[in-house]
Each structure stands twice: as C-alpha cells, then as structure tokens.
C-alpha cells in the first residue's frame, strides 16, 4: 500500500513536471513566431495619403499602399453613367456602383486582379470602357467590376477616407 502510494505520487510529479515543461516550451516559441509579424515601422506605414487636387477629369493615378498598387480614377460623367447603367446588367459578382464609391467622381481600387494577382492595365484598355488584366484577359468595367474573363470577383475597394476635399487617406490607421 505504502509503495503504491509512493508510485502514484511519483507519476503525478513526473506528469506535472512534463506538462509544465511542454507549456513553457510552447510559450518560448511565441516570440520567435511573433518576430515574423509586421514590425512597428511597417505598421506605421499602414496608411497612405494622396493629394488629388491636380487630378483632372478622366485622369488616373497609381499610388503604392502597403506595397500594393492603388488606382484612383477621376471619372468622367460618361464613365459614371456607364457604371450606373451596368448596375442592372447580369454581373458575375453583383454590386451597385454607389456602394463602391464614396464620392461619385472618384473610383478607388486595389489594382490586383482577383484571378491571380496581376496589375490590370489603365482605364480604357478593356471592353466595357474599363480595365484589362493582361495576364489572362479579365475585363473590368468603369466601376472595377468583373465583366468578362476568368477572374471571379470585382476589384476590391480598399478602406479609405477623405481628410478634406482633395486629400484621400487610404488604409485604416493602426
């Protein structure tokens, strides 16, 4: 009886020590894993500001945001009309144009094709008056919606706000 109790206590002690050791080793792995996450200086670049005062009607600029290209297009009345018209067409990824812009004239897109991540060509290169992705021939319209080709989704609209009438801030501050 005494010996058995002794045995049990030993087993418990060894088990407990093993558990504490495993937990400690797992915790020690955390700093190594975390060291791969974006560092503070990268996070500080989470937002990008752009001045749109020089942009004229029909003109488009490409600016980098978090290392990715952003298209900002000052749409003409015709392009806006085209986009609205297509609201009622049959779309692979249905979305209303008004849900894709904050101000009707400014179209802001994360310019990476939803097929395999190439950068589409500037406005007017594709059918539907929009953007053509050169890699596999996806066509996006003047609202950045997919209309033809292998891409499954519309070009995403990044989070952005207008600081004042002509200064746009892309991205959420961290």
């Amino acid at each position: 009886m005494v010996i058995e109790a002794e045995e049990n206590r030993r087993d418990f002690l060894i088990l407990a020590t093993g558990a504490v050791g495993v937990a400690g080793s797992a915790a020690a792995a955390w700093p190594f894993i975390r060291s791969w996450s974006p560092s503070a200086d990268v996070l500080a670049l989470a937002t990008t500001e752009a001045d749109l005062s020089a942009l004229t009607e029909g003109q488009m600029i490409t600016i980098p945001w978090q290392g990715k290209p952003i298209f900002i297009l000052y749409r003409t009345a015709e392009q806006i009309a085209q986009a609205k018209e297509a609201d009622s067409a049959s779309l692979p990824d249905p979305e209303q144009d008004k849900d894709r812009v904050h101000k009707e004239q400014y179209l802001v897109l994360l310019a990476l094709c939803t097929h395999l991540g190439c950068v589409p060509q500037p406005i007017g290169t594709g059918d539907f008056g929009g953007f053509l992705c050169p890699c596999h021939g996806s066509h996006y319209d003047t609202s950045g919606r997919i209309r033809k080709g292998p891409a499954p989704k519309n070009l995403p609209v990044p989070y952005y706000t207008f600081k004042d009438d002509h200064t746009i801030v892309i991205g959420k501050p961290v």
């Binding site: 060894i14 400690g24 500080a44």
Partner: protein
C-alpha cells in the same frame, strides 16, 4: 573541498582588482544618481519623460538628433495630438517624422568642428551610462565657480591659496600649479570646460542653465531638475522596450524557478532508486 578551491581562486583574482591605474585619464567619475527606471521593478516616470522630451526638442535638437524616435511616439507620455504637431512643426517636421535636428552636418562642422552625435543611444553608449550624461549636463562651471576662476585669472600668477581653492572646482591636484594654469588659460580662451568629460574640454558649450525652458506642468526648471528629466527621456530613447523587457523577465524567471524546483524534485525521486 572543490568549493574551497574555487573560492581561493576567486579571492586571489579579486585581490588584484582594486589597485588599478591607467596612465591615460584625467576624467573624474560622475557621481551616481537615483533613477526610478533602474532595478527589476523600475518604471519610467511619465511626467519626467514628458518634461525631458520638451528639453530635448527645445534645447538639444538645435544641434542633435534622435534619429530612431518619431515625434508621434511621444503620445504615450501624455502629449496631445495638437501638442505633438506643434512640437514637430517647431523643428520644421511633421508628427510622422523622426526627431532629426534642423542643423545640417556641414554647418555643424563649421560651428563646432565636429558633427554633434545622435542622442538616441547616448545613455547606453558611454561608460557611466545615465550618470555620465547627467554628469556632463551638470559638470560645467557654475556661476560661483566661474567667479573663482575669473578672480584667479585677474593676474598672471596663481598663488597657493588660489590653487587650493581651484583644485576641487577643476578636479585638479592643488600641487600641480602648472596644470591648473594651463586649464585656466584654456577656459579664458573660451574652451568649454567640463568636470566629467574625459580630458575636461570638449566641443559642446553649456547647453542647460537654470530656467532654460519653461515647463508646461509648472515644475521649477532648475539645472538639476532639467538634467534629470532630459536624461530620463534619453534613457527611454535608448531603449523604449525597457519596461516590456523587465515585465516579461519577471514572469519568465518566476516560471523558470518553479519549473527547476519541479525538475529537482523529479531528479531526487528518480535517483533515490539508484542508491
């Protein structure tokens, strides 16, 4: 037995250590100060860091930079967004910029003969650490000391009595009148004398004196107070992760001691069978 041997060796080695003398020198060790952020449980006094940042920007940054520190990061010490924007603008920068001095290297070289070093790491980069920085800031001649020096400079000769009076001020040997004379000549020549700088003369003119800044929180801006505050700020710029490090360290050590006791218990139990 073995322990005694090791102790003997250690004592033998230690016996030599105190009586060391360098032929190079002239530097006086700055006295140790109290720093709240030292020790296992030390914390930065946020109000002091905030005051120190004000001095750093209003005084130090005339010549020096803190190139690893962003204006924006001062928020954590109680600065408001508007205050930070104003501080950054006073240096011709924006809040997202690093704290880089407006003085360019060329004009610095022209005025001082040397490019003022970046201060981000200063408290870690000198022997004596924070005490050294505090020592430098407070190590210039005070008004009363300048008076003594000026009196001695009035005539060509330095009397024994003057030498005795000057010795503690200049940290010099009262019997070496030649050396004291040389030091005085350099002071009258306009060179910057500092008690704690190795060699006693260097390029930086006295940066702080009583009332050099007006503290926003109403603290009296004495030389000592300002030196202490700006040194505290510099200790933070040298290692912003200091508190994170100690907080984590406390947890890690607690765990390790507990785990090692467990391991020792298991070791005892397993080895009990072997004997």
């Amino acid at each position: 037995m073995k322990f005694l041997k090791i102790a003997q060796v250690a004592i033998l080695a230690a016996a030599f250590i105190p009586q060391i003398a360098f032929s190079a020198g002239g530097a006086v060790k700055p006295p140790a100060q109290e720093w709240g952020f030292k020790g296992a449980f030390g914390k930065f006094d946020n109000a002091a860091v905030k005051r120190g940042a004000q001095i750093a920007i209003e005084v130090c940054m005339a010549c020096h930079s803190f190139k690893y520190i962003q204006f924006d990061s001062l928020k954590q010490f109680g600065y408001t967004e508007a205050e930070i924007v104003a501080l950054a603008e006073s240096q011709g920068r924006t809040k997202k910029d690093k704290m880089i001095s407006a003085m360019d290297d060329v004009s610095a070289q022209e005025s001082f003969g040397i490019i003022p070093p970046d201060l981000s790491l200063m408290t870690k980069a000198r022997k004596g650490y924070e005490d050294f920085v505090y020592g430098i800031l407070t190590g210039y001649l005070s008004e009363s000391e300048t008076g003594v020096v000026d009196a001695a400079l009035e005539d060509e000769k330095i009397s024994k009595a003057e030498a005795l009076e000057l010795a503690p001020i200049l940290h010099a040997d009262a019997t070496k009148i030649e050396h004291i004379k040389m030091t005085l000549d350099r002071i009258s020549n306009g060179d910057n004398f500092n008690k704690y700088f190795p060699g006693q003369f260097f390029a930086m003119p006295m940066p702080l004196s009583d009332g050099a800044v007006e503290y926003a929180d109403g603290t009296e801006s004495s030389l000592k107070q300002m030196s202490h505050d700006v040194t505290t700020f510099m200790a933070w710029t040298a290692e912003p992760t200091l508190i994170e490090r100690k907080t984590l360290g406390f947890k890690v050590l607690l765990y390790l001691v507990f785990f090692t006791i467990l391991l020792y218990a298991v070791k005892r139990r397993i080895w009990a069978k072997a004997h």
